[in-house]
């Protein structure tokens, strides 16, 4: 079996589900002949036809609002928003409808749907192509928010998202779309949602992250290992609902925690994790939790983007501070 990238794993999952569930419909801007601007839907229109894989006009509120209607009628819409920076015009449909239809109708109508969006920085694109505002979505009751960090997890989690009976926002970190290759058997086996993944066992400190930042986080963990600091690394994966129990379990063991995310700090998902640890594991904490995050600035255009993005050095600094705390 050959190895595939994260974006290819996305394509593979979409193809699997298109082939196995005739209710699945994939649509968005440029997902047809062009195969998506990142090629995540490459070849799908050719293989499954223009009935199943469709280009839409340029209108994001429409893409999500239409998906709500399709889902209520029993289809499984899989919508692509071209970049997370263009999801904002669709937030009303996401917040006011997709997340609520089941609750509003006491279960009569529901919204099984997936909204995929490439997200995060690192691709030298213009403004608005580097957004990571996942915490906005994590705040909304009724949604699931899932972020893969490897080809294997992209495949398994996207399958799970497509089979979930409720709306799932699936954010794909562009920075690692083609960075890692893995063998990903196309066996249709989903991974569990609502669960963290333990990427590395350790005893001294817990590093918690998700998406592309796990690259820097794992590098930091290796560096720290060389310095004799044994890190546990957790991939949160589903940021809503949050599998806080797994994180608590780890922190109860290590007593120390650094949370790493690319999004701006204030009211980021890191705040929620830190808050819950402070509520539920305060007495296990042997040092203050640190968050290593994007600054509370607009993501800079690409020449200065590296200053914004949490670096391995910043993670190491934080880890050292936490370790040094008495």
């Amino acid at each position: 079996m050959s190895e595939i990238t994260l974006v290819e794993a996305v394509t593979q999952a979409l193809a699997y589900e298109l082939a196995h569930d005739e209710n699945v419909i994939v649509f968005g801007e440029d997902v047809g002949a062009n195969g998506g601007v990142f090629r995540a839907t490459e070849g799908l229109q050719k293989r499954f036809g223009t009935d199943r894989v469709l280009d839409t006009p340029l209108a994001e509120s429409m893409i999500v609002g239409m998906a709500v209607g399709m889902a209520a009628e029993g289809l499984k819409p899989i919508a692509e928003i071209q970049f997370m920076g263009f999801i904002y015009p669709a937030l009303d449909q996401i917040i006011s409808h997709a997340s609520r239809l089941r609750n509003r109708t006491r279960g009569r109508l529901s919204c099984p749907m997936v909204i995929r969006a490439p997200y995060g920085c690192g691709i030298h694109a213009p403004e608005h192509h580097s957004e990571s505002t996942e915490s906005i979505l994590a705040h909304i009751p009724g949604l699931r928010v899932v972020i893969p960090s490897s080809p294997t997890r992209a495949y398994g989690l996207l399958l799970a998202a497509m089979r979930d009976p409720d709306p799932v926002i699936f954010l794909e970190p562009t920075r690692i779309y083609r960075k890692i290759k893995q063998e990903v058997p196309d066996n249709g086996v989903a991974l569990p949602l609502d669960r963290c993944f333990l990427l590395r066992e350790g005893t001294d400190i817990t590093l918690v992250s998700w998406g592309a930042m796990l690259t820097e986080t794992m590098t930091a963990a290796q560096n720290l290992q060389q310095q004799g600091i044994n890190c546990e690394v957790i991939d949160v994966a589903t940021i809503k609902p949050l599998d806080i129990d797994s994180i608590i379990q780890s922190v109860e063991k290590t007593g120390r925690c650094v949370i790493i995310h690319e999004a701006a700090k204030t009211c980021g998902v890191g705040a929620e994790i830190a808050a819950q640890l402070a509520e539920k594991a305060l007495m296990s904490l042997r040092a203050p939790i640190q968050r290593v995050t994007g600054f509370d600035t607009i993501v800079p255009l690409y020449k200065m983007e590296h200053l914004y993005l949490p670096s391995v050095a910043r993670i190491l600094n934080a880890a050292h501070e936490v370790m040094a705390f008495e």
Binding site: P57, G142, P165
Partner: protein
């Protein structure tokens, strides 16, 4: 100097009606509207609409209901459109289309429940496929095109009807929906209730369009104006549009001209902004009066029938009020139980907190 240019596209919008304000026919009625039972049914549902609606306002005034949007004066639209729809069709309404809900077989009690602050009002017993009332203006237009897309995908002959107010047509969602409906030739009818006001904002401050039907031109979608106080015009235009839609000719827009003979909602005071002369001048356009005049003139209706109808409608509404008032409360945990198909673990914890606190509360 005059520059030559060539005309590359031309458009026109038409207006039609069958009955004038006094109920005199302005032209011959189509066959489908010559059936006495059909005509009486339209009349009866408009009366039911107005009666149950007045009751809702009264319930709100006495603290038994929350903010409620009346559809007084606009009954011909919901009733007329609803009458022309078929069983498998899908209604995607806003909040003044109660007439459609009723004539399609929906219950009054459901409407009372919803505006009484109870989500179960949206769990329709009969109209399983219909959308609940959309509160965020114009957002429903997009749901309608999504439903229509699903119907098209499955090659069914069902149609979707979605309603919106004049103010609602200023929202981007409305435009995005008609544009998609046009390019994908979706089986959907957009009905615009043009009651000339969006709360306190008159149509003239909403747009300078001469008609709202012409908004379709921006999407390549056909549109027409009808007299929205003439239930026959509304019914007929809807029937014709749905027929074309089912035949695969794509979407259509009906702008129904009416007037809001009530406050925007019970939380509003229209006297602050509606000119009294204007309100007065529309009284004679009343859709119920108009149809009754016509029915009487055709010897299809008399005082006796009128009395019987009002007595029956009164009883129906009273029964609905009774059912509404006697339904037991939802269990407190209902606020969690319908968020997801299966309650996620973090919410189990929160639900326990709710229950614990209830216990504490009740102690």
């Amino acid at each position: 100097m005059s520059i030559q240019s060539q005309t590359v596209a031309e458009f026109a919008i038409t207006y039609s009606r069958f009955l004038d304000a006094e109920g005199h026919p302005t032209q011959d009625l189509p066959e489908s509207l010559k059936n006495a039972d059909t005509l009486r049914k339209l009349y009866e549902y408009m009366v039911l609409n107005r009666t149950f609606d007045a009751k809702a306002v009264a319930l709100q005034r006495t603290g038994k209901m929350g903010t409620y949007p009346s559809s007084a004066g606009q009954e011909a639209i919901g009733v007329g459109v609803g009458a022309a729809m078929q069983e498998g069709d899908v209604s995607v309404p806003y909040y003044r289309d109660h007439g459609a809900h009723l004539i399609r077989g929906g219950s009054i009690e459901e409407i009372y429940l919803l505006w009484g602050g109870d989500e179960r009002g949206n769990d329709y017993a009969t109209l399983k496929q219909d959308f609940p009332v959309a509160v965020p203006i114009a957002s429903q237009s997009l749901h309608a095109v999504g439903v229509a897309k699903a119907i098209q995908y499955r090659k069914q002959s069902r149609a979707v009807v979605t309603f919106i107010g004049d103010g609602g047509t200023s929202e981007g969602d409305f435009y995005e929906a008609i544009n998609l409906a046009g390019v994908w030739k979706l089986p959907v009818l957009f009905v615009i209730n043009n009651n000339f006001w969006a709360i306190s904002v008159p149509l003239s401050e909403q747009t300078i369009c001469k008609t709202l039907a012409q908004k379709g031109i921006a999407a390549g979608v056909s549109g027409e104006q009808v007299d929205g106080n003439d239930v026959l015009a509304v019914t007929y235009a809807t029937e014709q549009a749905l027929k074309r839609i089912r035949e695969g000719h794509g979407p259509h827009i009906i702008e129904a001209l009416t007037y809001r003979m009530c406050d925007h909602t019970t939380a509003d005071d229209a006297k602050r902004y509606q000119p009294p002369e204007e309100v007065e001048s529309y009284k004679k356009e009343d859709p119920i009066l108009r149809l009754r005049n016509y029915l009487v003139s055709q010897n299809l209706w008399d005082e006796e029938q009128e009395k019987t109808l009002y007595a029956r409608v009164k009883q129906t509404v009273e029964q609905a009020v009774h059912a509404y008032e006697s339904i037991p409360d939802q269990p407190p945990t209902a606020i969690f139980d319908y968020l997801y198909a299966t309650l996620p673990h973090d919410l189990i914890e929160q639900r326990d907190i709710l229950l614990a606190n209830l216990g504490a509360h009740h102690e």
